[in-house]
Symmetry: C2
Subunit: 384 residues, 2 copies
């Protein structure tokens, strides 16, 4: 089956809208010319809205992990104490980056599939009043948990002097975020999730408090030095050659978001979450996360009666439907569905109807898809 | 909602595969240069397979109706007697073209939604032994009927001296056809149906008997003169400037068909037909055509309890799902679903699940979509 016949429903990379592909196919332009300057000028105010901030959103030509690393190395120095809230593989990644930079890492681990409780901030604040930064994951892509970032920010700022640094990958563009109002100090995401672009860009926004810390950090790195990006973006420019095609695509992504309306975009993601969760509940197949902790962009499913890897294989082979498996110790235990970015309720229905067929096959027909799609599925299953 | 968010499920034009779009975006080439010659050389043998013929398949730069007109004006002369089998709007079109060219038209009308019976050939052959050509529609797009062309060919050739001329639009590329084995004399289709291209090309294949008639026809037209196309194609060329982008796309269409396998392509269309029909049967919504007469590429649905136009409007507004309405006297009585070309069983399931939602809304919730998709649909319906 050709890739163009595939249905990409992993939690990123996500499908690219054709109009975005077209925008990225425009002729190349000079990165120091008027066209690039004007493009950056146009992008700046529009990105702020998506992040819920009045700060400029920096655009780095690198994948999402570079955004996490930039958030770490600009805000804290080797030896400084940080609290990392680990709710899954991407919390782990923050911890690894902090270790790599020889920070004094206090690590709080939460069972995968659950959100972090804001109560823990008080405990750590009391034991470690010298914490410089708290690192949290907004949507934990490995489990589909949406951590309560707004409440975390309130707890961090009321009980510590630390900055709150948030990995917004797989959330920003799909889940509502109010960086300024909530009090997030650094917020970052990659281009290939709810932002509907190929991988290759990451975005960072920084609060005035965090800028103050960053400016006083004498050990900032070179390529990931956020001050360089900030100062150049103030002049509608970039410190290094930017991924111009991706920036051209980004403009069309923002056109799409404007056309739909940002609040409608967020509402659509909530709807897709509820549709997905309701379907599995009805099928008596367990969800990894509670309703309260669930992300609008990713749903993890933890079936008791069949092998998630076998389901993924059937769906890939028969329909070209790409679902994600579990990561690390959850491999073989869960599967994950991405419903973000260029994805609609109609796509969710399609995904569910295909999963029903896969589950039916794996259950030797003991589960019963029903009514309309049921009948169509029956034909499919009985097809020679 | 932007067009790129639409789901095009009308019986043509149909969605274009991205790889075909890409192929059509290649740089322009000279129509008398080596590249065009080599392209035509490559296309020739591959098109024959799709038509089930050893004859060259002519490529005319024009829409499907020009293919019908070419079939008429090359094979018969003003005043000659022809039998036109009219099973819907496209049989009508053949009759209109014949009238326009001052033929002596014997018209056999069949109730819309039913296939023509091969028995009628004997009746007309006895009454009108001087019939020069019989015109039939393979898939009647306006009703979703697939006429029994193989049996018609046998009846025509055993009982008359007439040529059998078949409109294959909306069938060729989706429904199996064996032009040579069945004894079709002229077979034509457009590019925008199961051939997965934009409109703008039509294809015609002609039997040796029909060529004999055409060569002796002194009143052939200019642009639609099939002899010109045949003679030029024999030299890997065209009489007039061809739609080069469409020809580039056609090569990729044929790559796709080869990759899937032509028999698998036909099988997929049969599967999509059966899935669609089963769904409506289960929903107790009447189908216009009988199982025996149904086309693998188009399904017409004739609901008793709701207005098809209201359903189409809901689906278009909420999901960007494009279904076709009825034509002429069936307007407001039926709706039509295209499931051909770049369309998969997964797309059919999606279409059905969306129609379920639409029907549910129109029935004030008295119909009950079910299990899995049912639950997801319930969330959708109750969403604020």
């Amino acid at each position: 089956m050709s890739v163009e016949d595939h249905l990409l429903r992993i939690p990123g990379p996500t499908p690219i809208p054709p109009s975005v592909q077209q925008a990225m196919s425009q002729p190349m332009i000079g990165h120091r010319g008027t066209e690039t300057k004007q493009l950056l000028q146009r992008l700046k105010p529009r990105l702020k809205q998506v992040f819920g901030t009045s700060q400029d959103v920096l655009m780095l030509t690198a994948s999402g992990t570079a955004g996490l690393e930039a958030a770490v190395v600009n805000t804290v120095r080797p030896g400084e104490k940080v609290l990392v809230l680990v709710t899954g593989a991407f919390g782990e990644r923050f911890a690894k980056i902090c270790d790599n930079h020889n920070l004094n890492v206090i690590r709080h681990d939460v069972e995968w599939g659950k959100a972090v409780s804001t109560d823990v901030i008080r405990e750590y604040a009391e034991k470690h009043p010298d914490i410089k930064a708290v690192f949290a994951t907004f949507c934990e892509t490995s489990t589909g948990v949406l951590n309560p970032v707004q409440d975390l920010a309130e707890a961090v700022h009321s009980q510590t002097e630390a900055l709150l640094i948030v990995d917004g990958v797989s959330a920003i563009g799909g889940a509502e975020v109010k960086m300024d109002d909530w009090g997030i100090d650094v917020l970052t995401t990659g281009s290939q999730k709810a932002m509907m672009l190929p991988p290759g860009l990451c975005f960072l926004a920084v609060s005035p408090n965090a800028w103050d810390v960053i400016e006083h950090n004498s050990s900032r790195p070179f390529y990931l030095d956020l001050v360089k990006y900030r100062d150049k973006l103030a002049e509608d420019s970039t410190p290094f050659t930017p991924g111009l095609s991706l920036l051209m695509g980004l403009e069309q992504v923002l056109n799409r978001i404007d056309d739909e309306g940002l609040s409608q975009v967020f509402d659509r993601h909530l709807l897709m979450k509820e549709m997905t969760r309701a379907a599995f509940r009805e099928m008596n197949i367990s969800l990894l996360t509670s309703d309260k902790d669930a992300s609008p962009t990713v749903t993890s499913v933890q079936p008791a009666n069949f092998d998630p890897e076998a389901l993924r294989k059937i769906l890939k082979t028969e329909f070209g439907l790409d679902l994600a498996g579990g990561q690390q110790h959850m491999k073989g235990d869960i599967f994950r569905i991405g419903h973000m970015g260029y994805c609609s309720p109609a796509d969710v229905l399609q995904t569910i109807s295909l999963i029903e067929i896969g589950v039916h096959k794996l259950s030797s027909g003991t589960t019963e898809p029903a009514y309309g799609t049921k009948a169509a599925q029956k034909i499919y299953l009985e097809w020679k």
